[in-house]
Symmetry: C3
């Protein structure tokens, strides 16, 4: 009997390139039959934001509105960790991704959901940044650091990205 391997990634970063790396590893691990979890915390939550305007049940405070405006709305709007060049960098990366028939980030996230990668939003950070469940992708889970540690302590591959 072989035990199922586990891969658990904390996605802290809100950079397009780092999130790409996280999702490429996650999709690879899922293809290898690992049980895979990505725990999105701090700026990593932005990868899970919806692109469109949503009707919010709870009114946002001034500072929550500011965070909402300043942070990228969804994976397609994230910048690069290096050579961002006021937004030209992401365009260059997206161009070469297209040219090489590689998979851009929004599709990597869809693939992960199709492969049953567990996408978790950190509730503590949602609270701090004023993000509400309605603003995030459907079909994700909500949990805190205790749930992350429960997964990670039996993990074979644990990464902080």
């Amino acid at each position: 009997m072989t035990e199922t391997k586990k891969t658990t990634i904390v996605l802290f970063s809100g950079d397009y390139d780092k999130a790409m790396a996280a999702y490429i590893i996650a999709n690879g691990a899922a293809a290898y039959d690992h049980e895979v979890t990505i725990f999105h915390t701090f700026w990593g939550l932005n990868a899970l934001r919806k692109d469109e305007d949503v009707l919010l049940p709870k009114k946002k405070s001034f500072i929550e509105k500011m965070f909402g405006k300043m942070m990228p709305r969804g994976s397609n709007h994230m910048g690069l960790s290096k050579m961002n060049f006021a937004g030209m960098g992401p365009k260059m990366i997206k161009d070469v991704i297209k040219k090489h028939n590689a998979v851009p980030l929004p599709q990597l996230i869809e693939m992960a959901q199709e492969q049953d990668v567990k996408l978790v939003a950190c509730t503590m950070t949602m609270d701090l940044l004023g993000l509400q469940q309605e603003e995030l992708l459907d079909g994700i889970e909500y949990a805190g650091v205790a749930a992350y540690l429960g997964d990670a302590q039996d993990g074979n591959v644990n990464l902080f990205i």
Copy 2:
């Protein structure tokens, strides 16, 4: 008989938000009865600096004084990895932390010490940056990469932050 689980974090980053993530995971793991070590190296050492002036037994060289001046003195003075906005970002984060009764970084570090999280300062980096033991918090340990690896090789959760 269940074995004690181990969590070992390398804190390389000197960013307020990343250090918060490191200490939240560390405190969570300690609450879960893990044996927890945070190995502070490079800019992560700044989280361990004392806020006040200290009398140093060894005179600093010019370059060591410059590093000392340029690097944040203690966790409360660290910037953000994203949206730092010349210091406004950390203020915003500290405001929302207060508003949501979350725990700011200096208190997270105190909690870690109370929970017997082992806080280690990397002696090689201290040497490079010219930091002396008198400038760092009391009750921490001093070690090099060999000690880190000794802990990490039996770790269940190993992260580089």
Copy 3:
């Protein structure tokens, strides 16, 4: 019988200081008789670039030439993750490394190769950034995420840097 321990590092970052941390841990682990792999992806590939001009068998596209020009050519030309100060930071770090008889990054990479640390270049990113094997150091391996996961899933220390 004791099993050989394994250390597996994803080097995503193209920063001098982060690459130093990766190679110090890798060399330490190799000295501890771990089987060590560094998987260089995205900007981490720059640590493996040769310093000199090379005759390339395949002509580069315009965008590939741009990436080639903008990215640092080899570990000695990489910037710092913090306090880069338009290139003054790396000089300061190199000065203190020299003064303290510590080992600069290019020599850390040589040491790793002598200690049989497996240096791997991520073929997917090479393709995206238009890097060719002729531009990278001799004696390294080429692989994708599947090979990385094959190593990492049995790893004792897995880090993403």
